[in-house]
Amino acid sequence: MNVESPVRVEDKLYYNRYLVDIGHPHVKVRAHTTPSPQLLALLKACPARCYELNDNGQVEITVDGCIECGTCRVIAEPTGDIEWSHPRGGYGVQFKFG
């Protein structure tokens, strides 16, 4: 069973507090023409749905809602598909409860 989730992650992220470091994304996707299986897996595995397919079928990332879990790093850094760093000190998600 693989039910497509009707859940809107955007609504969930809206609860959180972020300090977005404009112009300094901490995760980058390597330029590609056809996405690897690892990159494609991120479309589903990222809990903040930061990864999306663009019109040309390539995987893109928008880090603004990233909750810094590291899942994409574990999956796609070894293949060189992404570059992962922590946001600069003080930036990114700020959990009030955690």
Binding site: S5, A45, P47, C69, T71, S85, G89, G92, F95, G98
Partner: protein
């Protein structure tokens, strides 16, 4: 560059880092602690159950001051299929003791308090500072760190890596491997707010009594994983986690699982009408004993989740983090008191002390369980929960079928799903791994 030289630099102000910094500062060492979050705890996620004993060893009077939620008097284990759960409860008034054994906590609030104790003990804390690199000398020893602040490089005799499960520094410096998809789980979690009285009524509690529920079964859709529901004073922590490798393999979404768990008929009444105030996610080390990396080297030690010191079977992590942080700090203190250098040979005493503690003993006990759970995930998390639930329903539903026939049918369903050899094999494998 900060000209001052420190006895120790601690990277991270989580459970492990705070324990290490506190222990060293109390011994009069000059400690610098660096934390990338706006405040300690702002990047950290936990269930969360706090185990009193391990904190008591660090701060004996913590019960009077720490932001604790509820002391746990009841534990529920649920084995779930899509519409039901078979449960086990353990509730005891003995947990209403003078010095309770377990509490629920809210990590961001707890970490802030823990950190205030570290600073009271004399450590210097710099928040909003991401350490970007470890600094080596010409003999390849770790002698400090580089940060994203303008004043760059800072030196110390020893660096304590308490950077958590997704630690970049240790892996970038080649001190340990990057976590693999099959030895870390991704957990997603929400905080559900409700009036205190409603929580107490729903969970059958009075005063500061608390309940925790751990749940496994079809909620993880055949992946290796578990759900949890913990009662706090005015909110409920609810989450679910599965191995990253399983998410990768199945294409299930973490938020999809979370919402399905929330709407399960056994869970929905507990969170009906709540106001959600946060959605978080975090990795949990699940590889156990076999995934523990090298724990020390020339000028460095690694503690807590960064060293995969996490007991996924018992959902214990913060206590292993606190204990490894404390023990590493004690080991460093010993080396320093002898006036000796922080060499790998001298720091090896940390591993010896840790091997003698419950941290390594517990992880060793379960060394075969993580791979077993992973390779058998369909059976343990899908087939058995469904079978057990069916069996239970068969047992309690009164419909005129003779009991002997019912038992036969139940047994047949088990054998049909797993075969005699399968059932026997699973039982043996499980028993062997548990022993």
């Amino acid at each position: 560059m900060i000209e001052e030289r420190f006895d120790a630099i601690v990277v991270g102000a989580g459970m492990a880092g705070n324990a290490a910094a506190l222990t060293m500062a109390k011994r009069g060492m000059k400690v610098l602690q660096l934390e990338r979050g706006e405040y300690p705890g702002s990047k950290n996620v936990q269930g969360a159950i706090l185990y009193a004993d391990m904190l008591e060893k660090l701060i004996p009077e913590f019960r009077e001051e720490a932001p604790l939620e509820r002391h746990v008097i009841e534990q529920r284990f649920w084995m779930m299929d899509d519409r039901s759960h078979v449960g086990m409860h353990y509730r005891s008034d003995e947990f209403n003791e003078e010095r309770p054994n377990r509490y629920t906590i809210i990590r961001a609030q707890f970490d802030k308090w823990f950190s205030s104790k570290v600073r009271e003990a004399g450590a210097t804390l710099l928040c909003e500072t991401t350490v970007t690199e470890l600094v080596r000398d010409e003999r390849e020893r770790i002698v400090g760190v580089r940060t994203d602040r303008r004043d760059g490089e800072i030196h110390a005799d020893v660096v304590v890596l308490a950077e958590g499960v997704n630690g970049l520094l240790g892996t970038r410096a080649g001190l340990r491997a990057r976590p693999r998809p099959d030895n870390v789980a991704l957990a997603v979690k929400e905080m559900h707010f409700l009036p205190r009285e409603t929580i107490e009524a729903r969970f059958n509690l009075k005063g500061d009594e608390g309940v925790v529920i751990e749940a496994a079964g079809t909620i993880s859709r055949g992946m290796t994983g578990m759900g949890f529901i913990y009662a706090n004073k005015e909110c409920i922590s609810l989450g679910i986690g599965c191995l990253v490798a399983d998410f990768q393999r199945t294409g299930q979404t973490p938020y999809g699982l979370l919402d399905q768990f929330k709407s399960h008929p056994s869970v929905a009444p507990l969170v009906a009408g709540t106001e959600v105030k946060e959605y978080s996610a975090h990795l949990i080390p699940e590889g156990g004993y076999k995934s523990i990396p090298q724990l020390y080297g020339e000028g460095w030690v690694v503690v807590g989740d960064a060293a995969q010191l996490n007991n996924a079977i018992h959902r214990e992590g913060s206590n292993l983090a606190m204990t490894s942080g404390r023990i590493a700090a004690e080991a460093i203190g010993l080396v320093k008191s002898r006036g000796e250098p922080m060499s790998a040979a001298n720091l090896s005493i940390y591993k010896k002390m840790l091997d003698d503690s419950f941290v390594i003993k517990d992880l060793k006990k379960y060394k075969d369980l993580p791979p077993l759970m992973h390779t058998q995930s369909q059976n343990f998390f899908l087939t058995y929960p469904q079978l057990i639930s069916k069996a239970m329903q068969n047992f309690v539903r009164v419909d005129g079928t003779p009991k002997a026939e019912k038992e036969k049918a139940t047994l047949k369903s088990f054998v049909k799903a797993r075969s005699w050899a399968g059932l026997f094999g699973d039982a043996c494998r499980f028993a062997r791994a548990w022993r």
